[in-house]
Amino acid sequence: MDCLRNAKSGAETLLDYCSGALEPARVAELERHIKVCAECRSAVEAQRELWETLDHWKAPAVSADFNARLYARIARENEAPAWRRWVRRLTQPAAPYALWKPAAAALVCTVLAVGFLVEMPAERHAPHAPSASAQIETEQVDIEQVANALEELDLLTPPAPSKATTTSANPM
Protein backbone atom coordinates (compact mmCIF):
# COMPACT_ATOMS: atom_id res chain seq x y z
CA MET A 1 0.00 0.00 0.00
CA ASP A 2 1.23 3.53 -0.85
CA CYS A 3 1.79 6.05 1.90
CA LEU A 4 -1.33 8.11 2.64
CA ARG A 5 0.55 11.28 1.81
CA ASN A 6 1.70 9.97 -1.55
CA ALA A 7 -1.49 8.21 -2.63
CA LYS A 8 -3.93 10.23 -4.71
CA SER A 9 -6.84 9.29 -2.46
CA GLY A 10 -4.78 9.23 0.74
CA ALA A 11 -6.81 11.92 2.51
CA GLU A 12 -10.05 10.17 1.59
CA THR A 13 -8.72 6.83 2.84
CA LEU A 14 -7.75 8.48 6.10
CA LEU A 15 -11.21 10.01 6.58
CA ASP A 16 -12.99 6.80 5.65
CA TYR A 17 -10.80 4.78 7.99
CA CYS A 18 -11.49 7.05 10.97
CA SER A 19 -15.21 7.30 10.23
CA GLY A 20 -15.51 3.52 9.82
CA ALA A 21 -16.52 3.80 6.18
CA LEU A 22 -13.49 2.02 4.73
CA GLU A 23 -14.01 -1.47 3.30
CA PRO A 24 -12.69 -4.24 5.61
CA ALA A 25 -10.08 -5.41 3.08
CA ARG A 26 -8.61 -1.92 2.84
CA VAL A 27 -8.76 -1.49 6.62
CA ALA A 28 -6.55 -4.54 7.03
CA GLU A 29 -4.20 -3.24 4.34
CA LEU A 30 -3.96 0.19 5.99
CA GLU A 31 -3.42 -1.27 9.44
CA ARG A 32 -0.57 -3.41 8.11
CA HIS A 33 0.93 -0.32 6.50
CA ILE A 34 0.74 1.96 9.54
CA LYS A 35 2.62 -0.61 11.59
CA VAL A 36 5.68 0.01 9.45
CA CYS A 37 5.14 3.64 8.37
CA ALA A 38 5.58 6.19 11.15
CA GLU A 39 4.35 9.10 9.03
CA CYS A 40 1.03 7.45 8.18
CA ARG A 41 0.65 6.21 11.73
CA SER A 42 1.00 9.76 12.97
CA ALA A 43 -1.56 11.02 10.41
CA VAL A 44 -4.05 8.34 11.45
CA GLU A 45 -3.52 9.09 15.12
CA ALA A 46 -4.04 12.82 14.58
CA GLN A 47 -7.31 12.22 12.71
CA ARG A 48 -8.48 9.69 15.28
CA GLU A 49 -7.77 12.13 18.10
CA LEU A 50 -9.71 14.83 16.29
CA TRP A 51 -12.58 12.39 15.82
CA GLU A 52 -12.65 11.66 19.54
CA THR A 53 -12.41 15.35 20.41
CA LEU A 54 -15.39 16.13 18.19
CA ASP A 55 -17.33 13.40 19.98
CA HIS A 56 -17.34 15.64 23.04
CA TRP A 57 -20.02 17.74 21.44
CA LYS A 58 -23.30 16.04 22.04
CA ALA A 59 -26.43 17.81 20.88
CA PRO A 60 -29.16 18.40 23.47
CA ALA A 61 -32.32 16.34 23.48
CA VAL A 62 -35.22 17.56 21.37
CA SER A 63 -38.04 19.26 23.28
CA ALA A 64 -40.85 16.97 24.29
CA ASP A 65 -43.44 19.25 22.69
CA PHE A 66 -41.69 19.44 19.30
CA ASN A 67 -44.32 17.34 17.50
CA ALA A 68 -47.21 19.13 19.18
CA ARG A 69 -45.87 22.53 18.12
CA LEU A 70 -45.34 21.32 14.57
CA TYR A 71 -48.84 19.86 14.29
CA ALA A 72 -50.25 23.13 15.63
CA ARG A 73 -48.39 25.03 12.91
CA ILE A 74 -49.66 22.61 10.27
CA ALA A 75 -53.22 23.03 11.56
CA ARG A 76 -52.88 26.82 11.45
CA GLU A 77 -51.54 26.62 7.95
CA ASN A 78 -54.35 24.34 6.81
CA GLU A 79 -56.86 26.93 8.07
CA ALA A 80 -55.20 29.73 6.09
CA PRO A 81 -56.79 30.81 2.79
CA ALA A 82 -55.75 28.80 -0.26
CA TRP A 83 -53.98 31.77 -1.88
CA ARG A 84 -51.79 32.26 1.19
CA ARG A 85 -50.82 28.57 1.23
CA TRP A 86 -50.01 28.82 -2.46
CA VAL A 87 -47.84 31.90 -1.90
CA ARG A 88 -46.03 30.13 0.92
CA ARG A 89 -45.32 27.11 -1.26
CA LEU A 90 -43.94 29.42 -3.91
CA THR A 91 -41.83 31.60 -1.64
CA GLN A 92 -40.66 28.85 0.71
CA PRO A 93 -39.99 25.87 -1.54
CA ALA A 94 -39.04 22.51 -0.10
CA ALA A 95 -36.47 22.01 -2.83
CA PRO A 96 -34.15 24.98 -2.44
CA TYR A 97 -32.85 26.57 -5.62
CA ALA A 98 -34.99 24.30 -7.78
CA LEU A 99 -37.66 26.69 -8.97
CA TRP A 100 -37.32 30.07 -7.40
CA LYS A 101 -34.09 31.06 -9.14
CA PRO A 102 -35.33 30.72 -12.71
CA ALA A 103 -38.66 32.20 -11.60
CA ALA A 104 -36.89 35.19 -10.06
CA ALA A 105 -34.75 35.62 -13.18
CA ALA A 106 -37.85 35.52 -15.39
CA LEU A 107 -39.54 38.08 -13.14
CA VAL A 108 -36.56 40.42 -13.29
CA CYS A 109 -36.44 40.09 -17.11
CA THR A 110 -40.16 40.83 -17.34
CA VAL A 111 -39.86 43.89 -15.10
CA LEU A 112 -36.91 45.17 -17.12
CA ALA A 113 -38.71 44.56 -20.42
CA VAL A 114 -41.87 46.32 -19.20
CA GLY A 115 -39.82 49.18 -17.81
CA PHE A 116 -37.98 49.54 -21.11
CA LEU A 117 -41.20 49.58 -23.13
CA VAL A 118 -42.82 52.10 -20.81
CA GLU A 119 -39.76 54.33 -20.78
CA MET A 120 -39.18 54.40 -24.55
CA PRO A 121 -42.32 56.34 -25.71
CA ALA A 122 -41.88 58.80 -22.87
CA GLU A 123 -38.44 59.58 -24.18
CA ARG A 124 -39.78 60.19 -27.66
CA HIS A 125 -42.58 62.50 -26.51
CA ALA A 126 -40.80 64.37 -23.80
CA PRO A 127 -37.31 65.19 -24.90
CA HIS A 128 -35.09 66.27 -22.09
CA ALA A 129 -31.73 67.88 -21.89
CA PRO A 130 -29.23 65.70 -23.69
CA SER A 131 -26.37 64.29 -21.77
CA ALA A 132 -22.82 65.56 -22.21
CA SER A 133 -21.81 62.62 -24.39
CA ALA A 134 -24.89 63.08 -26.54
CA GLN A 135 -23.98 66.75 -26.90
CA ILE A 136 -20.45 65.91 -27.99
CA GLU A 137 -21.84 63.41 -30.49
CA THR A 138 -24.27 66.03 -31.82
CA GLU A 139 -21.50 68.55 -32.10
CA GLN A 140 -19.35 66.06 -33.98
CA VAL A 141 -22.17 65.40 -36.41
CA ASP A 142 -22.79 69.12 -36.86
CA ILE A 143 -19.14 69.85 -37.61
CA GLU A 144 -19.08 67.04 -40.13
CA GLN A 145 -22.25 68.32 -41.75
CA VAL A 146 -20.87 71.81 -41.94
CA ALA A 147 -17.62 70.57 -43.44
CA ASN A 148 -19.50 68.51 -46.01
CA ALA A 149 -21.72 71.45 -46.87
CA LEU A 150 -18.71 73.69 -47.35
CA GLU A 151 -17.09 71.13 -49.61
CA GLU A 152 -20.26 70.89 -51.67
CA LEU A 153 -20.38 74.65 -51.92
CA ASP A 154 -16.80 74.60 -53.07
CA LEU A 155 -17.71 72.15 -55.80
CA LEU A 156 -20.65 74.21 -56.91
CA THR A 157 -18.70 77.44 -57.01
CA PRO A 158 -16.96 77.82 -60.38
CA PRO A 159 -13.23 77.71 -60.05
CA ALA A 160 -11.58 81.11 -59.83
CA PRO A 161 -10.28 82.13 -63.22
CA SER A 162 -6.53 82.28 -63.73
CA LYS A 163 -4.86 85.66 -64.10
CA ALA A 164 -4.31 85.14 -67.79
CA THR A 165 -7.88 84.19 -68.41
CA THR A 166 -9.03 87.12 -66.35
CA THR A 167 -6.93 89.50 -68.30
CA SER A 168 -8.16 88.23 -71.65
CA ALA A 169 -11.72 88.11 -70.52
CA ASN A 170 -11.60 91.58 -69.10
CA PRO A 171 -10.24 94.07 -71.56
CA MET A 172 -10.26 96.70 -68.84
Binding site: A11, E12, L15, S19, A21, A46, Q47, E49, L50, W51, E52, T53, L54, H56, W57, K58, A59, P60, A61, V62, S63, F66, N67, R69, L70, R73, I74, E77, R85, R88, R89, Q92, P93, A94, A95, P96, Y97
Partner: protein, 191 residues
Protein backbone atom coordinates in the same frame (compact mmCIF):
# COMPACT_ATOMS: atom_id res chain seq x y z
CA UNK B 1 -29.19 -4.03 3.27
CA UNK B 2 -30.86 -2.62 6.37
CA UNK B 3 -29.94 0.90 5.32
CA UNK B 4 -31.39 0.39 1.85
CA UNK B 5 -34.58 -1.02 3.33
CA UNK B 6 -34.82 2.02 5.62
CA UNK B 7 -34.36 4.40 2.69
CA UNK B 8 -37.01 2.62 0.66
CA UNK B 9 -39.28 2.72 3.67
CA UNK B 10 -38.80 6.51 3.91
CA UNK B 11 -39.81 6.96 0.29
CA UNK B 12 -42.75 4.60 0.77
CA UNK B 13 -43.89 6.52 3.84
CA UNK B 14 -43.63 9.81 1.99
CA UNK B 15 -45.68 8.41 -0.89
CA UNK B 16 -48.32 7.45 1.65
CA UNK B 17 -48.23 11.00 3.04
CA UNK B 18 -48.76 12.21 -0.52
CA UNK B 19 -51.82 9.99 -0.71
CA UNK B 20 -53.21 11.71 2.41
CA UNK B 21 -51.97 9.43 5.20
CA UNK B 22 -50.92 11.78 8.00
CA UNK B 23 -49.92 8.90 10.28
CA UNK B 24 -47.02 8.13 7.94
CA UNK B 25 -45.87 11.73 8.29
CA UNK B 26 -45.78 11.15 12.05
CA UNK B 27 -43.60 8.06 11.53
CA UNK B 28 -41.20 10.03 9.32
CA UNK B 29 -41.11 12.82 11.86
CA UNK B 30 -40.23 10.44 14.68
CA UNK B 31 -37.47 8.81 12.61
CA UNK B 32 -35.78 12.00 11.44
CA UNK B 33 -36.61 14.64 14.04
CA UNK B 34 -33.54 14.14 16.23
CA UNK B 35 -30.91 14.03 13.42
CA UNK B 36 -32.36 17.16 11.83
CA UNK B 37 -32.55 19.10 15.10
CA UNK B 38 -29.04 17.99 16.10
CA UNK B 39 -27.59 18.94 12.73
CA UNK B 40 -29.23 22.37 12.93
CA UNK B 41 -28.15 22.82 16.53
CA UNK B 42 -24.52 22.27 15.58
CA UNK B 43 -24.87 24.54 12.57
CA UNK B 44 -26.46 27.53 14.29
CA UNK B 45 -25.24 26.72 17.83
CA UNK B 46 -28.51 27.85 19.32
CA UNK B 47 -31.01 25.53 20.97
CA UNK B 48 -34.21 27.47 20.34
CA UNK B 49 -33.31 28.47 16.79
CA UNK B 50 -32.36 24.93 15.82
CA UNK B 51 -35.82 23.67 16.85
CA UNK B 52 -37.51 26.54 15.07
CA UNK B 53 -35.60 25.78 11.87
CA UNK B 54 -36.25 22.05 12.21
CA UNK B 55 -39.97 22.80 12.45
CA UNK B 56 -39.66 24.79 9.25
CA UNK B 57 -37.91 21.82 7.58
CA UNK B 58 -40.75 19.42 8.41
CA UNK B 59 -43.37 22.02 7.58
CA UNK B 60 -41.84 22.39 4.11
CA UNK B 61 -41.78 18.62 3.68
CA UNK B 62 -45.45 18.47 4.63
CA UNK B 63 -46.33 21.38 2.35
CA UNK B 64 -44.74 19.73 -0.64
CA UNK B 65 -46.22 16.29 -0.03
CA UNK B 66 -48.55 16.61 -3.01
CA UNK B 67 -45.66 17.03 -5.44
CA UNK B 68 -43.25 14.57 -3.82
CA UNK B 69 -41.38 12.27 -6.19
CA UNK B 70 -38.89 9.73 -4.81
CA UNK B 71 -36.07 10.84 -7.10
CA UNK B 72 -33.49 11.19 -4.32
CA UNK B 73 -33.04 9.68 -0.89
CA UNK B 74 -35.50 11.16 1.58
CA UNK B 75 -32.69 11.90 4.06
CA UNK B 76 -30.73 13.80 1.41
CA UNK B 77 -33.78 15.90 0.61
CA UNK B 78 -34.37 16.58 4.29
CA UNK B 79 -30.76 17.65 4.87
CA UNK B 80 -30.81 19.76 1.75
CA UNK B 81 -33.72 21.76 3.14
CA UNK B 82 -32.09 21.90 6.59
CA UNK B 83 -28.74 23.06 5.16
CA UNK B 84 -30.46 25.70 3.06
CA UNK B 85 -32.32 27.09 6.06
CA UNK B 86 -29.25 26.99 8.31
CA UNK B 87 -27.01 28.74 5.79
CA UNK B 88 -29.67 31.39 5.18
CA UNK B 89 -30.03 31.96 8.89
CA UNK B 90 -26.28 32.32 9.33
CA UNK B 91 -25.98 34.60 6.30
CA UNK B 92 -28.84 36.77 7.47
CA UNK B 93 -26.70 37.63 10.45
CA UNK B 94 -29.23 36.35 12.90
CA UNK B 95 -26.45 34.46 14.57
CA UNK B 96 -25.34 37.55 16.46
CA UNK B 97 -28.86 38.35 17.61
CA UNK B 98 -29.69 34.95 18.94
CA UNK B 99 -26.29 33.63 19.87
CA UNK B 100 -26.44 31.75 23.10
CA UNK B 101 -24.09 32.60 25.83
CA UNK B 102 -21.54 30.30 27.31
CA UNK B 103 -24.27 29.21 29.71
CA UNK B 104 -25.71 27.15 26.91
CA UNK B 105 -22.58 25.05 26.78
CA UNK B 106 -22.94 24.29 30.46
CA UNK B 107 -26.67 23.78 30.07
CA UNK B 108 -26.05 21.38 27.18
CA UNK B 109 -23.50 19.58 29.23
CA UNK B 110 -25.89 19.12 32.10
CA UNK B 111 -28.32 17.34 29.86
CA UNK B 112 -25.66 15.09 28.46
CA UNK B 113 -23.97 13.87 31.59
CA UNK B 114 -24.19 10.15 32.20
CA UNK B 115 -26.10 8.68 35.10
CA UNK B 116 -23.17 8.60 37.46
CA UNK B 117 -22.58 11.96 39.09
CA UNK B 118 -19.53 13.78 37.64
CA UNK B 119 -17.24 15.74 39.90
CA UNK B 120 -17.09 19.52 39.71
CA UNK B 121 -13.64 19.28 38.09
CA UNK B 122 -14.94 16.86 35.46
CA UNK B 123 -17.85 19.17 34.72
CA UNK B 124 -15.56 22.17 34.34
CA UNK B 125 -13.12 20.27 32.14
CA UNK B 126 -15.98 19.06 30.00
CA UNK B 127 -17.40 22.57 29.67
CA UNK B 128 -14.02 23.94 28.60
CA UNK B 129 -13.53 21.17 26.01
CA UNK B 130 -17.05 21.63 24.69
CA UNK B 131 -16.55 25.37 24.36
CA UNK B 132 -13.33 24.89 22.43
CA UNK B 133 -14.89 22.36 20.06
CA UNK B 134 -17.86 24.64 19.44
CA UNK B 135 -15.63 27.62 18.80
CA UNK B 136 -13.35 25.69 16.46
CA UNK B 137 -16.33 24.45 14.46
CA UNK B 138 -17.93 27.89 14.56
CA UNK B 139 -14.83 29.36 12.95
CA UNK B 140 -15.11 27.12 9.89
CA UNK B 141 -16.60 28.65 6.75
CA UNK B 142 -20.34 27.85 6.47
CA UNK B 143 -20.11 25.18 3.80
CA UNK B 144 -17.18 23.43 5.44
CA UNK B 145 -19.10 23.46 8.70
CA UNK B 146 -22.19 21.96 7.07
CA UNK B 147 -20.11 19.28 5.36
CA UNK B 148 -18.38 18.30 8.61
CA UNK B 149 -21.66 18.22 10.54
CA UNK B 150 -23.26 15.91 7.99
CA UNK B 151 -20.16 13.72 7.67
CA UNK B 152 -19.06 13.45 11.28
CA UNK B 153 -22.29 13.61 13.24
CA UNK B 154 -25.01 12.52 10.83
CA UNK B 155 -22.84 9.96 8.97
CA UNK B 156 -24.04 10.93 5.52
CA UNK B 157 -21.88 9.69 2.64
CA UNK B 158 -20.11 11.97 0.15
CA UNK B 159 -22.83 11.75 -2.49
CA UNK B 160 -25.57 12.64 0.00
CA UNK B 161 -23.58 15.61 1.31
CA UNK B 162 -22.92 16.71 -2.27
CA UNK B 163 -26.64 16.68 -3.07
CA UNK B 164 -27.50 18.46 0.16
CA UNK B 165 -24.95 21.20 -0.54
CA UNK B 166 -25.64 21.34 -4.27
CA UNK B 167 -22.04 20.64 -5.32
CA UNK B 168 -19.93 17.80 -6.67
CA UNK B 169 -18.56 14.90 -4.65
CA UNK B 170 -14.99 16.03 -5.28
CA UNK B 171 -15.92 19.50 -3.97
CA UNK B 172 -17.33 17.89 -0.83
CA UNK B 173 -14.14 15.88 -0.29
CA UNK B 174 -12.11 19.03 -0.71
CA UNK B 175 -14.34 20.88 1.80
CA UNK B 176 -13.96 18.05 4.29
CA UNK B 177 -10.19 17.73 3.95
CA UNK B 178 -9.71 21.45 4.47
CA UNK B 179 -12.16 21.56 7.38
CA UNK B 180 -10.62 18.60 9.21
CA UNK B 181 -7.15 19.99 8.64
CA UNK B 182 -8.20 23.31 10.18
CA UNK B 183 -9.84 21.53 13.11
CA UNK B 184 -6.79 19.34 13.67
CA UNK B 185 -4.66 22.48 13.96
CA UNK B 186 -7.10 24.32 16.23
CA UNK B 187 -7.83 21.41 18.55
CA UNK B 188 -4.39 19.80 18.58
CA UNK B 189 -3.76 20.86 22.17
CA UNK B 190 -6.85 18.99 23.37
CA UNK B 191 -5.69 15.57 22.21
Amino acid sequence: MEAIAALERDAELMLRVRAGDDTSFGVLLDRHRAPVVHFLYRMVQNDAVSEELAQEVFLRVYRSRATYEPTAKFTTWLFRIATHLALNWIRDGKKEKGQESLNDAVEGMERQVPDRQPTVEQEMLYAVKLKEVREAIGMLPEKQRAAVMMHKYEELDYSQIARALGCSESAVKSLLFRAYEALRVRLRHMA
